[in-house]
């Protein structure tokens, strides 16, 4: 039995981690490049979900391909629209104290919260076509949705690989990396920081929205889902080390697994887990698990 539980908990953890990673990824990516901790990221998650659900309803089922297209398409649209909005907003605060920038995103978050409710109302939203089309598979007598078991983690890995490729193999990506390492030098080298920042916001926003979109078939979209998701992804990002993409992947797994094991062994601890992990990690490694500290030049 215990061995079975181990396996099952692993599977549950993985499916949850996939989602967590996608959301955290956008957050950490944006921070890595423009050094802004985007509280409004939670709204991106929520809007992505709502948009996907709405589109799904509008298309009304259709083939698997159509539903998947709906998920991805909607998150791209949301990403471009909201990413642009955020970027335009934050551009006004470029050279301000990072704390103020953070608070601006907090303000944006509050605004988005109400916008959501105005657009999508308060009734839970939910479109499950994709899940049903993908069917289920059985492990040790437990039935899993292929969507949760295979697709979401797969998508997470795919996105991760894609992002890595983009950052390391394309010119644009290399420029982004350059900016993350040293913006002065990068801009001195004639990299158009403005364009980079814009791109970053759009990509980051897309990732956040994609997280929401992928969550929408299995979870109900209700007012306020953004607020919880954002702290959770904060936990992931801070534990991994701000701006650490691979770190976020591993941390998301860590948190996802610890959570699912808790459900089997000590359910009461389930919710506290991510934060306990974060506190412990930060106490031992102030910069997060995967960041190398660098000294300030004087």
């Amino acid at each position: 039995m215990s061995k079975d539980i181990l396996i099952l908990a692993l599977l549950d953890g993985v499916s949850y981690a996939g989602l967590l990673f996608l959301v955290a990824l956008g957050l950490t990516f944006i921070f890595g490049v423009v050094r802004i901790l985007n509280v409004a990221h939670g709204s991106l998650y929520a809007c992505g979900g709502y948009a996907a659900a709405t589109l799904g309803l509008w298309l009304g089922g259709g083939s698997l391909g159509v539903s998947l297209a709906a998920l991805i398409g909607s998150s791209i649209v949301v990403g471009i629209v909201l990413g642009t909005l955020l970027m335009l907003l934050l551009r006004r605060f470029q050279d301000r104290d990072p704390i103020l920038q953070l608070l601006v995103t907090f303000g944006a978050f509050m605004i988005f919260e109400d916008l959501q409710r105005m657009i999508w109302g308060t009734q839970p939203y939910f479109v499950a076509d994709v899940v049903n089309q993908m069917g289920t598979s059985e492990v040790l007598g437990v039935i899993y949705m292929n969507y949760q078991l295979l697709f979401v983690p797969g998508a997470a890995l795919g996105v991760y690989a894609l992002l890595q490729w983009f950052l390391n193999r394309t010119l644009m990506g290399r420029q982004i990396v350059a900016v993350t390492h040293d913006r002065e030098v990068a801009t001195a080298m004639g990299i158009n920081a403005k364009r980079i920042a814009y791109l970053t916001f759009v990509v980051g926003a897309m990732l956040g929205a994609l997280g929401g979109a992928l969550a929408s078939p299995t979870t109900s979209l209700v007012p306020g889902i953004g607020a919880d998701m954002i702290v959770l992804s904060f936990a992931v990002v801070a534990t991994a080390g701000l701006g650490q993409i691979s770190g976020a992947l591993i941390t998301a797994l860590l948190i996802g697994l610890s959570r699912s094991f808790c459900v089997y062994l000590y359910p009461e601890l389930e919710v506290v887990m991510p934060y306990v992990i974060m506190v412990l990690v930060l106490l031992v490694r102030p910069q997060g698990l995967f960041t190398v500290a660098q000294a300030r030049r004087i």
């Binding site: 839970p124 289920t136 299995t218 109900s220 209700v222 306020g224 089997y264």
Partner: protein, 434 residues
């Protein structure tokens, strides 16, 4: 000796004078009757709050069109419970003390009921608990101005046990998945206490309280699939219930375990075909838009039609509770006006609620004179596919009368629960179609 008698007479006289005085002085009729209504307009509980608000608007428009109460028009003031306890309190005070509301309807959240009830008592304003469940809000407080126009958690949960044992007597194991907050915990406490008492051989294999508004229950579902309990109970509601039920059904858990959702009525329409047939559903009261006894009842029928037309969906229990509270208000004013031959003072209004019998959209409700607790029947049913609805409807509808499943006035719930006997199971009767 003589002195004492004199004294006694004097005191008596004084008392009767006071009483008389209290009786004769009636308030004068206001230009309009301000009614404060707290309901969730934001946050996840707005699933209940917003439909209820719509219902209130509908109801009050109609009432005012008919000339209001004794010619006095109603002016509702809506307060958002979603702003959080502290601000809600300020706002409540503002509406009572600045806007001079004569009557308050509060609230949906049990937590808010607990906070606001003593305030209403201090402010001497009649407060109708129109939707919140916790029995603690009234029990043992002996309030003068606070009443509940529907059942409380005890009635609902004890009835739920009775129904379960009636329709599904022989099961060995049960698991619970409730939201992690007061209602989720309290309702399970009551349920478990009564269940283990009436059916000691039942084994509780899992008690899961996932976080309020959790986006994902995959681990919980897996665990339940390993345990394979005969019955899975969940008193969750709104988005949480939808999410849990959907993930459970997508993963076939509903095929292996019998699901029992005492608040399921409020999610039926949203869940569409997700629910299989044969799921046990409760309604938190005897409210259901297809209630056999009131299917053709004029008041009920027209309301359901109107509401569907206005909001595009069928009324859920919070809607019924709102209407019920407003009907109670009207009934109480009529009663008080008759008794006092004039517009009632707040005291007289409060008096009128004691022992008030009134009818909302379904069966009549009595407000217990002793503690102001509403006595409301409970409705349960089993999901089945319907030809004219795109979602599951209820069949084999059963009704549990309030009296046998409610803590008697003046008694302490935990003690009383220990005295509950299997006789309550026989109290469960099929609903009479008319």
């Amino acid at each position: 000796m003589f002195k004492q008698t004199v004294l006694r007479v004097g005191v008596l006289a004084a008392f009767s004078l006071v009483a008389l005085h209290g009786a004769v002085q009636a308030a004068e009729k206001p230009a309009e009757l301000k009614v404060g209504i707290t309901t969730f307009l934001s946050g996840s509980a707005s699933v209940f709050g917003v439909p209820a608000r719509d219902a209130a608007q509908m109801y009050i428009e109609e009432l005012n069109a008919k000339g209001g109460i004794d010619g006095v028009k109603i002016k509702p003031i809506y307060i958002d419970e979603g702003v959080g306890g502290d601000r809600l309190l300020s706002e409540y005070r503002r509406v009572v003390q600045e806007e001079k509301a004569e009557l308050m309807l509060a609230s949906i959240s049990s937590g808010n009921c607990n906070t606001l009830a003593p305030v209403a008592e201090d402010l001497k304003v009649v407060n109708l608990m129109w939707d919140c469940g916790t029995e603690k809000a009234l029990e043992g407080h002996g309030y003068r101005y606070v009443f509940r126009t529907q059942a409380n958690a005890v009635t609902e949960m004890v009835a739920a046990v009775a129904y379960l044992l009636k329709v599904n007597p022989d099961f060995k194991t049960i698991a619970v998945v409730n939201q992690d907050y007061a209602w989720g915990r309290d309702s399970w406490d009551i349920f478990r206490t009564v269940l283990t008492q009436l059916k000691p051989d039942v084994k509780v294999v899992a008690e899961l309280f996932p976080k309020f508004g959790a986006p994902d229950f995959s681990a919980e579902v897996s665990r339940l699939q390993v345990l394979r309990p005969d019955v899975v109970l969940s008193t969750s509601w709104g988005g949480d219930l939808d999410t849990f039920v959907r993930q459970a059904s997508q993963r076939g858990l509903l095929r292996t375990s019998k699901f029992y959702l005492p608040l399921g009525e409020s999610s039926l329409e949203r869940l569409g075909q997700t629910l299989p047939d044969g799921v046990l559903i409760g309604a938190r009261g005897d409210h259901y838009f297809l209630h056999p006894s009131y299917l053709n009842d004029e008041k009920h029928k027209t309301f359901v039609a109107k509401f569907k037309e206005k909001t595009g969906s069928y009324p859920i229990y919070s809607v019924y509770h709102m209407v019920q509270a407003l009907d109670a208000m009207v009934a109480a004013y009529d009663k008080a006006i008759k008794q006092n031959a004039g517009w009632p003072s707040k005291e007289q209004l409060a008096e009128a609620f004691r022992g008030l019998e009134f009818r909302g959209l379904t069966s009549a409700v009595t407000i217990r004179p002793e503690d102001g607790q509403g006595m409301e029947e409970q409705l349960f049913g089993i999901t089945t596919t319907s030809s004219e609805h795109s979602f599951k409807v209820l069949k084999d509808i059963m009704i549990v009368p309030a009296e046998p499943v409610t803590t008697p006035a003046g008694q302490h719930t935990p003690d009383w629960l220990k005295t509950v006997t299997p006789t309550i199971i026989d109290a469960v009767k099929p609903a009479q179609a008319q």
